[in-house]
């Protein structure tokens, strides 16, 4: 554990123990009752229930990324306890953030396995809490797609850091392992190659674009929040790959500081977000360095020019 001296940005008057996780995993026992019964508290040994233990470990890995890489103490940077519920519903094919906790279904075992199986999905859900705390990006159209993309970015970084992978080594998939063997596909999304994660008779074809030329105008899915997130996702992949090394160190830091930037308003679209990433890269790593050039090039390759 690190020393508990106040850091810049810490809320005044709060004496949270920094760097100390407070996880609570509950079990809905295949009902839709929330929060369910508490089955594992912080510090308790594994239960032997895969979903419970994966949620516990996944929340821990996500907390550790935010704390160790970005000096952030939990969802609210103030030590907020991390709560998750597993075994939610029957044959339940989803995981979601309800504004207070992460909720994971077991999947129907026909298309989907249990939703705790992918570490990046756990990181994705927790990051929705971080985004709400910092930016309140509206869950519609471009701000919603940015909200989704930020969850994919940090979800993927949790996995990369846990596996000790560089940007070049990472698979950049979101939700690998989630599909059963019946499905023709590898994951929910690919940040490296949006639009290629699955092509299946039941699920259809991965609809994600990788470039603004292919931006999908739709009212479905809250205005395509899980569709057009492919564009900023791919930009992040490109920036991280151009910078090289561990993606959470520089590219992740640029995106994290962008998320905390006061210019990031709830209605921010892709271009404004991209502009803030460039300003952040210049502030952190200089106006002439590789990092700011990588940010420019990454966005440019998805059709967004930032100056």
């Amino acid at each position: 554990m690190r020393p508990t001296a106040p850091r810049p940005g810490q809320r005044a008057g709060v004496m949270a123990v920094e760097g100390q996780k407070q996880r609570t995993i509950s079990d809905s026992h295949n009902t839709q009752n929330l929060p369910g019964d508490v089955v594992r508290l912080e510090g308790a040994p594994p239960t032997g229930d895969l979903a419970v233990d994966e949620a516990y470990d996944g929340l821990g890995a996500t907390y550790d990324l935010y704390w160790e890489a970005y000096d952030r103490n939990s969802i609210d940077d103030d030590g907020l306890p991390l709560d998750a519920t597993v075994h939610f519903g029957q044959e339940y094919d989803n995981a979601f953030w309800n504004g207070e906790r992460m909720v994971f279904g077991d999947g129907d075992e026909e298309l989907f396995n249990r939703f705790t199986i992918s570490l990046d999905v756990i990181g994705h859900e927790l990051t929705h809490g971080v985004t709400e705390d910092e930016a309140q990006l509206i869950y519609l159209f471009q701000p919603g797609a940015l909200n989704e993309s930020i969850s994919d970015v940090f979800g993927s970084l949790v996995k990369q850091r846990t596996l000790d992978q560089t940007a070049a080594q990472a698979d950049w998939l979101i939700g690998a392992g989630l599909f059963t063997a019946n499905v023709h596909g590898v994951a929910l999304r690919s940040m490296k190659a949006p639009g290629t994660a699955y092509d299946d008779p039941v699920l259809g074809k991965d609809p994600q674009p990788a470039h603004m030329n292919d931006y999908v105008r739709t009212f479905a899915d809250n205005g395509g929040v899980h569709i057009n997130s492919g564009i900023p996702n791919h930009a992040f992949y490109l920036v991280a790959t151009l910078i090289g090394g561990y993606a959470w160190e520089k590219a992740g830091r640029i995106w994290y500081e962008t998320l905390r930037d006061s210019r990031l308003r709830p209605n921010t679209g892709f271009k404004r977000f991209a502009g803030i990433t460039l300003a952040t890269a210049q502030r952190l790593y200089g106006t002439t360095g590789l990092e700011q050039q990588a940010v420019r090039d990454g966005w440019s390759q998805v059709g967004i020019v930032v100056t």
Binding site: L34, D93, V103, D108, E110, F115, H128, L188, V202, H226
Partner: protein, 110 residues
């Protein structure tokens, strides 16, 4: 009776799962058709408001369901957002999801 059932959202957008599914009660086995009638009655479907309550602030990746029931001259649409707390709506949704799954299974087998 004819029901159109649409699922949207969730942690990913799957075009195949977002397509509306149509269930005709007269194409169902008799026992299932009467189950469906009972579920709609228990949920007081035709008396429900058409628009769901908005999602909780900051919530994400939730699914939304749209159910349109046409029965004789009556037609009503109800939209709900998860988590669905009402057990009668949960039971109705579970029935519709099971039927939708059966219908979609056909597209893998064909």
């Amino acid at each position: 009776m004819r029901i159109e059932f649409t699922t949207e959202g969730g942690i990913a957008h799957f075009p195949g799962l977002a397509r509306p599914v149509v269930i005709e009660s007269n194409a169902l086995p008799e026992a299932e058709a009467s189950d469906l009638g009972r579920l709609l009655e228990a949920a007081r479907f035709f008396e429900r408001p058409a628009v769901a309550e908005p999602p909780r602030r900051g919530a994400a990746d939730y699914r939304q369901y749209t159910m349109t029931v046409q029965e004789g001259s009556r037609r009503h649409t109800v939209k709900v957002i998860e988590p669905v707390e009402d057990p009668t709506l949960q039971a109705l949704l579970r029935f519709l999801q099971t039927k939708a799954r059966e219908l979609r299974r056909g597209s893998r087998e064909s």
